[in-house]
Amino acid sequence: MAKEFNPVVVTANDLVEGDSVFLGAFGWVRDIAAARVALSEGEAKVLETAGNEGENGNLVVGPYLIEVSVTNGQPVPVLRREQIRASGLPTMPFGLDVPVERRAA
């Protein structure tokens, strides 16, 4: 029996901003919910090629495919690393969002 294909999306970093982007229906998007999902090897190849075109066109850096699960029509990365990347932020409050609880009155 053929190995079941896990859905994938293509991701990269934006050349100028450096943040995580995903290839959507009409270009690179920041919200993984708008990413194109490949459901077969053939579709994955198409996505990979489109990702490389994004790098060759100097829009993005380092495109690669990531596995996703599709829940209620929304792609969600399988790996923790990619979940954190897709969120666009660290998992804890950072920088100016950190409360300075010990600040003197």
Binding site: G18, D19, E55, R81, R85, V98, E101
Partner: protein, 553 residues
């Protein structure tokens, strides 16, 4: 501190202009990523999980208030309002945009700073003792040697493309606060039997996936021979170090595989036959550099002013801060004060622009305008009159940086981990925060006593986990974060690598695991003065293993 001469200014400004041109060409597509990547790395610019990251060099951790204010300005203008001080005494900005980086570098150059050689397979920022020029037991300020090495290694034509990165650390005291035994080359300033000052040179230490303690290369090296000798060592490494496998390319692997005696013989042969005069610093150069590090003129003051004693009685929190966060100064009436960047539940090493500005103001007012970044991710104000300590302390309290926890369980070192780093396999900062929250009670921290927890989010060990009394290494096990624990590591002159407890633990389990380890120590220690490290060395791993892995009947 060292000030740029005309050559330094011109060199750094030319480098900024060059990188501005390279960025423009990248943005227009004239350079592709494969061509641009090595260029940006040479200027300290990485591409991380969520954004570019710029690593700015702080040579041997020394900063003045003008520079700290510029770091605050950069954080506010081109980043998200904060920066992250690292275990290499540098600072990293986590969110710059590519098009802004040339402007950031220009701003840095205006205060004699840059990001050159903070990445790549070259000689990196040279680290040193944060109490340089302060510690009473110090033989000589190690920053003079570090600056000499910095000048020698900057754009060194032979060593710009080494097999792998190369890290130096220098200490001027017998008590090692610069972790010299876990550096590619560690240098200790010593005095020989004839009373001459020179160097003890160690080689082949390092952490990462193959941690090793450095071995003695030369027991005593005359000061004048410093540059030719390290040049000889680098030549042997450059010639024989592996380039076929990046994981075996550090000098520690070469020294380990060659054997220290054979490696030493090769270095000594190179040293004996090379044109030493071509490498030796010109006469008077060491003295010229030393003049920049001349001790500030500090008027002798009373060691315990009445007001200082009174405020310690009135404000017990201040008394605790004095006990934990200050260090004796060679000049009576002064102390070095550590600003802990480890507030309870905070991200180790992070400081907001506001905090940077206040630290700069406090340094200018109370510390002869001097600051040091420590490899433990704190800031030291090196020259504070004891009579000013309370005012300093209150100033720190106004920005939430008055934690009296230096060297205690919440003074945790942590790398950025999977929240920022593209190489990471697990999160570090939230683990540090959870442990910090668990041990928030100050009384409990003091009862536990000196204890270092060091956390790395991958095998590359930027969080120095191997040399933590409790080391925590985050790994990925089939998509799930798993944390290996080591015990009994140490970073000082007694440096040793920690021993693994056994199988790893889940993300949520780590604070409880640390608590079990500490409770076991508290049960086993012989009196309150026996530290965690001493107890571990006395009783070994077994009782800790028992506590962590024994299953309930």
């Amino acid at each position: 501190m060292y000030r740029y001469d005309e050559f330094d200014h011109r060199f750094v400004n030319e480098r900024v202009a060059e990188f501005r041109d390279q960025v423009e060409r990248r943005l227009t597509g004239a350079l592709n990523e494969a061509e641009f990547k090595p260029l940006r790395l040479m200027n300290g610019l990485y591409l991380q999980l969520h954004a570019y990251m710029l690593r700015v060099a702080v040579p041997y951790g020394t900063l003045d208030s003008r520079q700290m204010r510029m770091l605050a300005h950069i954080a506010e203008t081109w980043d998200k309002g904060y920066g992250h001080f690292t275990t290499r005494q540098n600072i990293q900005f986590n969110w710059p945009r590519l098009k802004d980086v040339p402007d950031i570098l220009e701003a840095l150059a205006s205060v004699e700073m840059h990001a050159i050689q903070t990445s790549g397979n070259c000689i990196r920022n040279i680290t040193s003792d944060p109490y340089s020029g302060v510690a009473p037991e110090e033989i000589e300020d190690p920053r003079i040697t570090a600056e000499m090495l910095r000048q020698w290694s900057s754009l060194h034509p032979e060593f710009t493309y080494l097999g792998r990165k190369f890290k130096f650390a220098v200490t001027g005291s017998e008590h090692d606060r610069a972790a010299i035994k876990v550096h590619d080359i560690g240098i200790q300033i010593i005095r020989n039997e004839a009373g001459e000052v020179g160097y003890r040179v160690l080689v082949g230490g390092g952490l990462g996936r193959t941690p090793m303690i450095g071995k003695e290369l030369r027991a005593f090296l005359p000061k004048a021979d410093l540059l030719p000798y390290v040049e000889a060592a680098l030549r042997v490494y450059n010639l024989h170090g592996r380039r076929d496998n990046k994981y075996k390319a550090r000098i520690k692997i070469l020294v380990h595989e060659t054997g220290i005696d054979e490696f030493r013989a090769q270095v000594e042969h190179e040293f004996a036959t090379m044109d030493r005069a071509a490498v030796t610093a010109p006469e008077g150069e060491m003295e010229r550099i030393a003049a920049y590090f001349a001790p500030p003129e500090l008027a002798t003051k009373p060691p315990a002013p009445v007001e200082f004693e009174r405020m310690q009685k009135l404000d017990p929190d201040f008394a605790q801060w004095v006990e934990r966060n200050t260090y004796a100064h060679r000049v009576p009436g002064y102390a070095a004060a550590t600003i802990s960047l480890k507030p309870i539940g905070g991200a180790p090493g992070d400081a907001t622009a506001e905090q940077m500005r206040v630290m700069a103001d406090l340094a200018e007012t109370y510390s002869v305008d001097a600051m040091r970044v420590t490899h433990e991710q704190n800031i030291v104000l090196p020259h504070v009159a004891i009579g000013d300590l309370y005012k300093l302390y209150r100033g720190l309290a106004s920005i939430g940086l008055d934690m009296p926890n230096k060297g205690l369980v919440t003074d945790i070192i942590a790398c950025p981990g999977l929240d920022y780093c593209a190489l990471a396999t697990a999160r570090s900062i939230p683990v540090a925060q959870a442990i910090s929250n668990r041990f928030a009670d100050n009384k409990r921290q003091r009862e536990i006593g000196p204890l270092s927890i060091k956390i790395s989010g991958c095998i590359n060990a930027c969080g120095h986990h191997h040399i933590g009394h409790i080391g925590i290494l985050g790994l990925d096990k089939a998509g799930v974060e798993s944390y290996q624990i080591t015990l009994g590591g140490e970073s000082t002159e007694d440096a040793r690598l920690g021993d693994r407890t056994g199988p790893g633990f889940g993300y949520d389990e780590v604070p409880g695991v640390v608590e079990k380890i500490i409770d076991t120590y508290l049960d086993l220690r012989e009196g309150q003065r026996e530290t965690f490290f001493q107890t571990y060395r006395r009783v070994g791993m077994e009782p800790f293993k028992e506590a962590l892995y024994a299953t309930a009947d």
